[in-house]
């Protein structure tokens, strides 16, 4: 593994009894990037992250986190990683500060406590509150603080803004950008597409334990199926467009209008349209949400 890579998995598999959670996950996350890990519930996001920390052991495949095999030296990996679990549970009979100090003790008091106070201030978290009195959102803030407080090289965040209000979500995004500017790598799972679109440099989509796509968010949108509306100057037979690679004629009206669906690059369609008297041409750019859905809605089962 080169120095530029923060983590890499190769052919990662994991089954829970008869349920195959991961079916050969291949991932590469470069140092310093913000990597979004997209997928619906049960796709394998949390299982992948928990394998990276040796909380669960994969059945097969290889993992390297910051150049270390987590199964061989989990403590070395965890010393350099900040983790926020998807299902965050805290000791209910402690106060926030007591809980954070316990986590800091486990890190040999690595965290600068003034930074903990700064994080708490930015997230409007009262450190003196008993955890049992905290709302879900405030508990999530405790999780965010403990993940960030020792300024780790790699952040593994499983749905980091779960339960937070929109203002606090924005604050977490800012904190993650600051962490990235400080040299940290951020690997986060989410099913909130706007979050991934806002934060991530690159995105992987996992479905039924397999990575089905990996790209920059913009490229992912570019790869998606898009809809094209064409208005012609005079009546034409638009059926030849249906034979262009990646193009499907969805609707034709009086020979003057055509609605087409284009998969991938637009080049073929534009060249084909050069032979037509085009009056107007309009494309609908898909949101990442539509891209995401295109990988799931009506798609076949992964073999």
């Amino acid at each position: 593994m080169t120095e530029e890579m923060a983590l890499r998995t190769r052919e990662l598999t994991k089954a829970y009894g008869r349920i195959q959670a991961l079916r050969g996950v291949d991932l590469v996350v470069r140092r310093g990037e913000v990597f979004g890990f997209l997928g619906p519930n049960g796709a394998g996001k949390t299982t992948t992250i928990r394998c990276l920390l040796d909380l669960i052991r994969p059945d097969g495949g290889e993992i390297e986190v910051l150049g270390i095999d987590p199964q061989k030296d989990p403590v070395a990996v965890r010393a350099r990683v900040g983790y926020l679990p998807g299902e965050l549970s805290l000791e209910s009979n402690q106060r926030v500060e007591g809980q954070l100090r316990y986590y800091n003790d486990l890190r040999n008091r690595q965290a600068d406590w003034s930074y903990v106070h700064e994080l708490a201030r930015r997230l409007e978290l009262d450190l003196s509150m008993p955890i049992k009195n905290l709302s879900k959102g405030n508990k999530q803030k405790v999780g965010v603080v403990q993940a960030l407080m020792h300024k780790p090289e790699l952040l593994l965040l499983d749905e980091p803004t779960s339960g937070l209000d929109p203002l606090m979500q924005q604050e977490v995004y800012r904190l993650l950008r600051v962490a990235r500017e400080g040299g940290s790598t951020v690997f986060f799972s989410s099913h909130i597409l706007s979050e991934v679109e806002t934060l991530a440099d690159r995105v992987a989509i996992i479905r039924q334990g397999v990575i089905v796509e990996e790209a920059e968010p913009q490229a992912l949108k570019g790869m998606a199926v898009r809809r094209v509306h064409v208005r012609f100057l005079r009546e034409v037979d638009a059926s030849p467009l249906d034979r262009v690679d990646g193009v499907q004629l969805l609707h034709e009206s009086n020979g003057l209008y055509a609605t087409l669906q284009v998969a991938g690059e637009m080049d073929g369609l534009i060249k084909a349209l050069a032979a037509f008297p085009v009056s107007d041409f309009e494309t609908e750019r898909p949101s990442l949400e539509e891209v995401f859905l295109s990988y799931y809605a009506g798609s076949k089962e992964v073999e």
Partner: protein, 288 residues
């Protein structure tokens, strides 16, 4: 490891305080009653009139008039079962309780090895039991000064050794069971059932010769109780500690091997090494 040790003591502080007070108050009460009970007129005759079955089950009841016998019958004969409730429930939830609550996931995401977490918590648990038994010992030693319970502090202390060893043995059994059973509660119930069953078996073995042969293979047969006042049976004590260590090592090995659950994916499973072996054999069979 120190962080986990301190954390375990902090978490168990409620039980430590509550059980220490309870055990100490009972010891204090019984120590102060010694003179009154032994001076009851006709008490010895009353004991002698007890049915043979009761005499057999509880052992040498007639020795109750001596400090050693009193300590045995009124305290050590059942204290291992009473404090055993705490020892078993605390051990069953020592690690798996956190897993069931979902807090273990985040703790183990910190730079602490599973071994350090395990042994840190086990040491905290042992310290908690020692503190409780220390309170029990003091509750006899201090008030005994004003009574005719003429035992030295060491004589009072000795029976607490086998008591602690027995508690740790059943605690480590609960710990092993918690690693292999679907829930900490189930592990605690099974270990508790085995403790009570063993207690009854030892009592009944005094009445039935057939049971006497079986009981030798159970841990409570080697629990000295109040007899340890006059001297420890080091062989028995060493045996109890040895079995405890073996059970603790098995629990530690299982903890090393297992996946940390966050819910739903656990259950009855073969150890990971056996699962890997089964998968290897399966794939070898498919290739053939």
């Amino acid at each position: 490891m120190i962080a986990e040790f301190v954390h375990t003591l902090r978490r168990l502080r409620g039980q430590i305080i509550g059980w220490s007070i309870g055990v100490a108050l009972y010891g204090l009460f019984m120590a102060l009653l010694f003179d009154s009970i032994t001076q009851i007129e006709g008490f010895e005759q009353l004991l002698a009139s007890y049915p043979e079955e009761i005499m057999g089950f509880f052992g040498d009841i007639m020795s109750i008039m001596t400090p050693k016998g009193y300590l045995d019958v009124y305290y050590f004969a059942y204290m291992h079962v009473i404090v055993g409730i705490l020892a078993i429930s605390a051990a069953a939830g020592l690690i798996i309780g956190d897993e069931e609550k979902g807090t273990l996931d985040l703790v183990l995401a910190h730079p602490i090895s599973r071994s350090r977490l395990f042994w840190g918590r086990v040491l905290g648990y042992v310290a908690a039991l020692v503190i409780i038994l220390l309170a029990g010992w003091l509750s006899w030693v201090i008030p005994a000064q004003g009574t005719t319970l003429d035992l030295t502090w060491l004589e009072f202390l000795r029976p607490f050794g086998p008591l602690l060893a027995t508690l740790l043995l059943f605690g480590s059994l609960a710990l092993v069971l918690s690693m292999v059973m679907p829930s900490a509660r189930l592990a605690g119930m099974l270990a508790g059932g085995l403790l009570v069953g063993n207690y009854l078996l030892v009592g009944l073995s005094n009445l039935n010769e057939n049971l006497a042969n079986i009981v030798e293979y159970t841990p409570l047969y080697y629990y000295q109780g109040g007899d340890a006042v006059t001297g420890l049976n080091w062989g028995w004590l060493g045996g109890l500690i040895g079995v405890t260590l073996v059970l603790a090592l098995i629990a530690w090995w299982r903890f090393q091997e297992r996946d940390i659950r966050v819910g739903g994916e656990g259950g009855w499973k073969l150890p990971a090494s056996l699962q890997r072996l089964a998968r290897r054999r399966q794939s070898a069979g498919q290739q053939a």
